[in-house]
């Protein structure tokens, strides 16, 4: 199987109609252009409500750009597809399916389950959940749930894997452990990864390229390349310098207006 996953984002703009006819339109993403090479790990970082999720949803094909195009391997994205997996912030596991059934969901849809039965266990092991095959989501911790979601997306061998703040709700310990697991999986499967995150340290620890966005409407302000080898040292000098660079670009002062936080 030839793996690719080159993404070309070309002058993408997204305008939402207001809630009712009186309300003003909202421009969430404004003229973003970028190219992502196959197998790259890109982090998208920016203030709350700036339009990161919107951009990611357009990459997944769940929303359509108002203007501009997105192409994956020279094919325009017109709708969702098995080629582009997505892991959401909140757990979107199917609560009525146990771990094994959740992971094999994509295979079942594609009628490949009988053929690829063994792989289900492989992917469960890969995300370190051996022994939890028969457990339902409501008995899993948040971190375990996100790992199941990861396995569920990976088993379809997507060319591109998209993450919308997948570790936002996890505690620091669990998060660090998952970072390392994710890097191992990425190195093994060579998938193009695009992750939206709020956490600058997470971005610097994981990504090759960090896309820093402006407040709404999202414009691609700057791209920070991270040229450190894995595993990275969170307390290393270069690491801390890169973190501060990203923070400076985002112009984060620690005193953002509170009212902006309304969701």
């Amino acid at each position: 199987m030839v793996k690719n996953g080159a993404i070309v984002i070309d002058k993408v703009q997204k305008i939402f109609a207001g809630q009712d006819q009186q309300a003003a339109q909202i421009e969430a993403v404004h003229q973003v252009s970028a190219q992502i090479k196959p197998g790259d790990f890109v982090a998208i970082i920016g203030p709350s409500g700036c339009g990161k999720s919107t951009l990611l949803r357009m990459l997944a094909g769940l929303d359509q750009p108002t203007s501009g195009t997105i192409a994956v391997d020279e094919q325009n994205v017109t709708g969702p597809s098995r080629e582009r997996g997505l892991v959401f912030q909140d757990s979107t596991l199917y609560p009525w399916l146990n771990v094994e059934q959740n992971v094999s969901f994509g295979l079942k849809l594609a009628k490949q389950l009988s053929k690829r039965k063994d792989e289900v266990q492989e992917f469960i092991d890969l995300v370190g959940l051996k022994g939890f095959e028969k457990v339902y989501p409501n008995q899993l911790s948040g971190g375990m749930q996100q790992r199941v979601a990861l396995a569920r997306a990976l088993i379809n061998y997507p060319k591109v894997l998209l993450f919308d703040e997948p570790f936002g709700a996890l505690d620091a310990f669990t998060r660090m452990r998952l970072h390392d697991q994710l890097i191992k999986i990425w190195q093994k499967h060579k998938i193009t990864m695009v992750m939206v995150t709020h956490d600058v340290e997470e971005a610097v620890y994981l990504a090759d390229h960090i896309f820093a966005m402006t407040p709404r409407p999202a414009i691609l302000k700057d791209i920070v390349d991270v040229d450190l080898p894995h595993p990275r040292d969170r307390n290393g000098e270069e690491f801390i310098a890169l973190k501060e660079k990203v923070l400076r670009i985002l112009n984060f002062t620690g005193e953002e207006g509170n009212l902006n936080e309304n969701k």
């Binding site: 997944a60 094909g61 769940l62 709708g79 969702p80 597809s81 098995r82 582009r84 997996g85 997505l86 959401f88 909140d90 979107t92 199917y94 609560p95 009525w96 399916l97 146990n98 969901f105 994509g106 079942k108 849809l109 594609a110 339902y136 989501p137 409501n138 569920r152 997306a153 379809n156």
Partner: protein
């Protein structure tokens, strides 16, 4: 194991004692002091006597009722699920069916007896239809709302795995709506019980509602009570079994109806 059972018994003993006390009081009030009209409030012995001597006939009536109820519920639940899914999922079905459900659904099926009697070939069909109808409405409403309340994410995840429309209905929408669907079925079962007694007024051969009604006509109130006791026990059992089944089916869920 044994000690567990013993404990259970001790736990229930006050209740059992209380029940006995109540029966004795009733006995005294009717037999000894004739406080109530003994025609309408027969002595417990008389009721027990009916249960013992008439059990075969009562059992047959019960089986007839259960058959009617079973067929009615089967059709009612199936139709309710179907309508609920159609109006919950498809915009165009919703457009045409939703107003019809809202207008016709709340009509009590007991009011439709004159029409169904003439519309169906046999009165058994008419009775079964009445039961099905009373079950159909709440199930439709709750299936519909269950499906509409499914989190959009769950469908989007399926989309990114290439799900077809049918797969999204059967593998996402319906399972996600099951908690609501079960509430609807509970509601439907309650309605079917109420309707059964009325449905058995139209030309059934036997039935426990028919029995009560018949005995009422000939003032056999001990028999009426015996019938009521059978209804109480059976219907309570049906609901208990239904909830047991539900608990097993929804073992992945927290916070379901407690029975």
């Amino acid at each position: 194991m044994l000690t567990g059972r013993f404990r259970g018994f001790v736990y229930k003993s006050y209740f059992i004692g209380g029940a006995f006390l109540l029966v004795s009081l009733y006995n005294l009030a009717t037999l000894k002091f004739a406080l109530f009209n003994p025609l309408y409030f027969p002595a417990p012995e008389a009721i027990l006597n009916v249960l013992v001597s008439d059990w075969q006939f009562l059992l047959m009536c019960l089986l007839y009722s259960l058959r009617l109820l079973g067929i009615g519920l089967l059709f009612g639940i199936s139709a309710g699920l179907l309508t609920g899914i159609l109006i919950g999922w498809y915009t165009s079905w919703n457009y045409w069916l939703d107003p019809i459900v809202k207008l016709f659904g709340p009509i009590p099926s007991t009011a439709l007896i004159p029409i169904v009697l003439s519309a169906f070939a046999t009165s058994f069909q008419a009775s079964a239809f009445l039961i099905a109808l009373s079950t159909w409405f709440p199930i439709t409403i709750l299936t519909n709302s269950g499906i509409r309340n499914v989190k959009q994410d769950l469908f989007e995840v399926a989309d990114t795995m290439g799900a077809t429309d049918t797969q999204k209905i059967l593998r996402v929408a319906v399972p996600a709506a099951t908690p609501d669907i079960f509430v609807g079925i509970f509601n439907g079962i309650c309605s079917s019980f109420i309707t059964l007694v009325t449905a058995e007024m139209i030309g059934v051969k036997y039935g426990i509602g028919w029995y009560i009604n018949w005995q009422r006509q000939i003032m056999g109130y001990a028999n009426v009570y015996a019938g009521l006791i059978i209804i109480a026990v059976t219907f309570s059992l049906i609901i208990t079994i239904f909830f047991k089944f539900r608990d097993h089916f929804l073992r992945w869920q927290k916070g379901v109806i407690k029975w």
